[in-house]
Symmetry: C2
Subunit: 647 residues, 2 copies
């Protein structure tokens, strides 16, 4: 328990002016508008939470039984059951991690159900990427994957997905084996952290953290790693695979990012959440109902995306991205949104409070995500078209109630090139080297034109100046000839900052510039952007797909590649489970703010030091973009040295 | 947030003398011994936790994302995401509930795996109750249940169990349907709380409580109910069913309870935890190794049970019960325990600290339960005999290191009649009414000789004077002619207090006395005990089995029966999920101490009032045994009035 950490953060946060809180000019402009309209935001609520509880802040509190709540204090070195600070911190971290895993596995499960229903003709979805379905089926070892009728094959794959998610005892783990390298499978097996399926590590994690079970912090942290691995393969990969099958594998697509994508004279519908199963249908319905919008006096319907469902429809359909999580309340204050349609995850409960100041409808759709004061239109894949139409019609209807006097749309928006699936990237690379597409990338890395790569991912968080870490860290890295790949709310930040447009390549170091220019020209562009939009948070799977391909190409382990990751404004439990997966893969991962581990030196050392021995990677932390870049660059240089590459 | 609640509890706890802390004379005697030996207990650690954090105490804190930790204060009516007090309380309760469900479902999963391995000849277990296996298989709708070779049938049942535990989408829910009444299935379906399987409600519960998901407290509480139902059928019932198949359905058996069951001249091994898959084998190995113990200078081996694994081997094998959870540290201070073998759940991490003051070995066996400073002998069902033998040999070896000067065994132990499965109870009843065994019980209830029944269940908790609520509440109830059924640590308390011996019937009211005497005599006993030992916590399933039989016999719903439940010294998250199941079944349930809901009037009202409209039952709370008995009696009288029975 370190009260100083808490008081230091309080001082920092209270000292911030508006201009210190965000680097997004639209958000900055909207602060004033929101205040006038009486909209409270996460930035305001954070101030009222200061100072934070020092026990919960450092992880040394526990409420996992009714003998407590307990905390570690100067008087008490153990909880009532005997749990030490180490145990409390490790238990807390494991519960947070399994919640992240649960979120992604449940997401994957929904997509698998949609695929199953589509295959059975019960839900109105088609198979948009049949070759990918066949590749996946083949990699899963399904016989006849090349010749089976497509819907029959889709059913087989969906059923296998659901079976692996639900595995209650050791099974084939085919999804895991399809996407993991042999070296990692052996490492994880040795550590006893191979997950049996998607749900079981969640069950086991909740069991072992309940009172009177695991009290060995090291063992508990191994539970985190197991949950992280389950997230990666049964959550992220499974979601991406089946979403690509259903909705198509992304290809490079131009669009725009920033609040300026709202259109004053159109019905504006924002899709917010994570799963494209709903948002794809909203886009379809909006297209079909343009005339209805015109009847209501609008010029048409403008669908925009927030957060990860925004990334999903951006990367596949080119739908403009209005902002990330910390834009989600302020974009309502534009008064120009006729509906915000949400599925699940990262939906601030406060959205309905913001909406009360305007005509905006918040429409919830998931049975497990309801908000008091929102309208609920329950989504059911089988009635997807009907539900989407109903939602769009409500938005159109609501357009009539918009108060033009309250509309204030900031003018900022930026060009963004999204849609970098691995398949798409390989297609670009194959322009330079048709027979061996990875060769140009590998050569560039070997020579040092590309010093390495860092994935910048994760959320936004008002404790960190909004978008600042994402953007400044990326700028620092590309300047040092380190390629950046981004997903999630990080990608929104980079997009808004112009780092995802071809012209952005000029911000890179000269050697990286050359590579981006050569690759871009081969693809018919001015250049590749220096920060590649890899999609949503579940699309972090695509990063592993690329790393596995590179590692296998080079005949080394992923842990030996000159790569690293960063979640520099992380917020959700999902970010923790993804970050844990990254470290488990062998990718050293920077996180900020500091997770709730400061109360245990043992756990802190495990994660930031000993993990390296076990997994070849560890967590690192810094809240300064320059220092973070230094640390990440050093990780990359060390890997280059070990590989005998020039540094 | 109510600081007064916290300060009131602090004053109460600090004012307690030793004699106020427990009514178990052995514990009281051991306090002094423990202090001299330097053993710290949960009673001591509780004092050092006072005063408790008022935010966590009332549920208005949240650490489910890294924007926090947050709490509701005079300055802040919402967390950073916008979560209100209602949302924080409901989220916290759901996480606690799913942790309980996860524990029981994981327990059931282990038993199913043991059955599967036994059926396949991979693990050294036999089918001890083949008729029950066939009855279960038949009720599950397995064709050929009457004629299939037993091991083939066992494999089918085990695979079905694992499939239902892991169901990732809507399935048959056969385990649920086997044990639930039609009326409840319809009620739960209407409320949308029918669980699809055992793990999914845990996954869903963790998902929906993560930041940016469910923010509707009512919806979250429905999630608790769903998790509670999953616990009841895929946790408790599934465990009991398969344990009975593997180890035999309990029959009435005499044994003894209390610390006096330790034997100074024997190797004493305590089995602590929950799952009989290990402890059954320890008992077998101890029997086989008696001669080895004699070689080590002992008179033999004395296996005793703690907590629920203690109940499991008591009800099936007559193994003496040395105590419940709050005896577990003090029994180590007797200096007479050569080994404490633990599986999982309710194992205080502090046990190893107590053991350091003596020669006692703490031996952990589960991969998910390790304790620093314990010896770990990993249990694997396939090597069950070998592992059990290894553990018993370590205990024998350790006997040589026992310091006789440190041995202090309190003299208290009491006769206990355990083993009341429903099958056993029906056998007793059939002595009076062979063709219609339930008739005598139903008649007694109808006439009012048995006014009703209360299940007293759950843990011990140092916040509540140890055993006092269990025992005083039971005495109050039986005095009022209300039959008491007990499981778990409650049953240990009743056993130690003499309420589970035939002679205890004299403590009942005169009308209940008559019934106990008549039934007992028919069974060849002086009388039935006034508190019937129904087994371990997972054996709470047996209570539903009885209620379902009674409800179907009477043609009413369970919610209309003159019954209630109480967990008057609850501690674990499992107790919360079981209690929620009980309310979901239609059984009004008393809990003490107060769960962490005081920070939300909405949630408090839902649980203690509105639940009645939805489910025909609710939670009630009191910390006074007399007042609790009044409340429970009133529930029963009200049901009797509605049924038109004399009150």
């Amino acid at each position: 328990m370190d009260e100083n950490l808490v008081l230091k953060e309080k001082r920092e946060i209270e000292a911030r002016e508006d201009s210190d809180k965000t680097i997004d000019p639209a958000n900055l402009e909207m602060f004033e508008v929101a205040r006038k309209a009486g909209v409270e935001t996460a930035f305001d609520r954070l101030l009222r939470q200061e100072p934070k509880c020092p026990y919960c802040y450092t992880g040394v509190s526990c409420r996992n039984c009714a003998m407590g709540p307990c905390r570690i204090t100067a008087r008490a070195d153990r909880g009532v059951c005997g749990a030490t600070a180490d145990v409390m911190v490790a238990r807390g971290l494991l519960r947070n991690t399994v919640a992240g895993t649960a979120s992604h596995v449940d997401h994957a499960r929904h997509v698998a159900i949609a695929l199953l229903q589509a295959a059975r003709g019960e839900a109105p979805y088609t198979i948009r990427d049949e070759p990918k379905l066949r590749r996946i089926a083949s990699a899963l070892g399904i016989e006849g994957a090349d010749t089976m009728p497509v819907m029959e094959l889709a059913e087989r794959v969906a059923l296998l997905a659901l079976e692996e998610i639900g595995a209650a005892h050791a099974n084939g783990g085919r999804w895991l084996r399809m996407h993991a390298t042999q070296e990692r499978l052996e490492t994880w097996s040795r550590l006893g952290v191979l997950p049996e399926g998607g749900m079981l590590p969640v069950l086991e994690g909740m069991h072992r953290t309940s009172m009177g079970n695991d009290a060995d912090a090291v063992n508990l942290i191994l539970g985190c790693i197991k949950a992280g691995i389950a997230d990666g393969f049964y959550g992220l990969h499974l979601s991406t695979d089946l979403q690509d099958v259903l909705f198509g594998t992304p290809k490079p697509v131009f669009s725009r990012a920033g609040m300026g994508v709202l259109e004053e004279e159109y019905v504006n519908i924002a899709c917010h959440g994570h799963v494209p199963v709903l948002s794809e249908k909203i886009v379809e319905a909006a297209e079909a109902l343009q005339e209805e919008a015109k009847k209501a006096g609008a010029k048409g319907i403008n669908v925009v995306g927030i957060c990860c469902t925004g990334n999903e429809i951006l990367e596949r359909l080119g739908i403009p991205a209005v902002g990330n999580e910390l834009n989600s309340e302020l974009v309502i204050a534009t008064g120009a949104l006729d509906a915000v349609v949400v599925d699940y995850q990262c939906i601030f409960p406060a959205l309905t409070e913001a909406a009360k100041c305007f005509h905006t409808k918040i429409i919830t759709t998931a049975p497990i995500v309801k908000l008091p004061d929102a309208e609920h239109v329950e989504f059911d894949e089988r009635r997807a078209d009907e539900v989407a139409r109903e939602i769009v019609m409500r938005a159109i209807e609501n357009f009539r109630r918009r108060d033009p006097g309250k509309v204030h749309i900031p003018g900022f928006s930026t060009e963004v090139l999204a849609g970098f699936s691995v398949e798409a990237l390989l297609e670009v690379l194959s322009k330079l080297s048709p027979s061996d597409p990875l060769a140009p990338l590998v050569d560039s890395i070997a020579k040092g034109d590309v010093k390495g790569a860092v994935a910048i991912v994760g959320c936004s968080n008002p404790r960190v100046p909004h978008d600042l870490m994402h953007v400044e860290l990326a700028k620092e890295l590309i300047r040092r000839d380190i390629l950046v790949i981004a997903t999630g709310c990080a990608a929104h930040a980079h997009a808004k900052a112009g780092l995802m447009q071809p012209a952005g390549y000029r911000m890179a170091g000269s050697r990286l510039q050359g590579v981006l220019k050569a690759l871009g020209e081969a693809a018919g562009l001015e250049a590749l952007p220096p920060v590649l939009h890899f999609g949503s948070c579940v699309d972090n799977s695509r990063i592993n797909q690329l790393l596995k391909a590179l590692a296998e190409k080079l005949g080394v382990a992923i842990k030996d590649l000159p790569v690293a990751a960063s979640a520099p404004e992380y917020n959700t439990e999902k970010a923790l489970s993804i970050g844990t997966w990254a470290v488990a893969l062998g990718v050293t991962t920077h996180v900020n703010p500091l997770p709730r581990v400061a109360g245990s030196q043992l756990v802190t050392e495990l994660l930031t030091d000993k993990a390296e021995e076990l997994l070849g990677a560890k967590f690192i932390h810094s809240s300064d973009p320059k220092e973070s870049a230094d640390m990440l660059e050093e990780v990359i240089l060390e890997k280059r040295r070990r590989l005998g590459l020039p540094v």
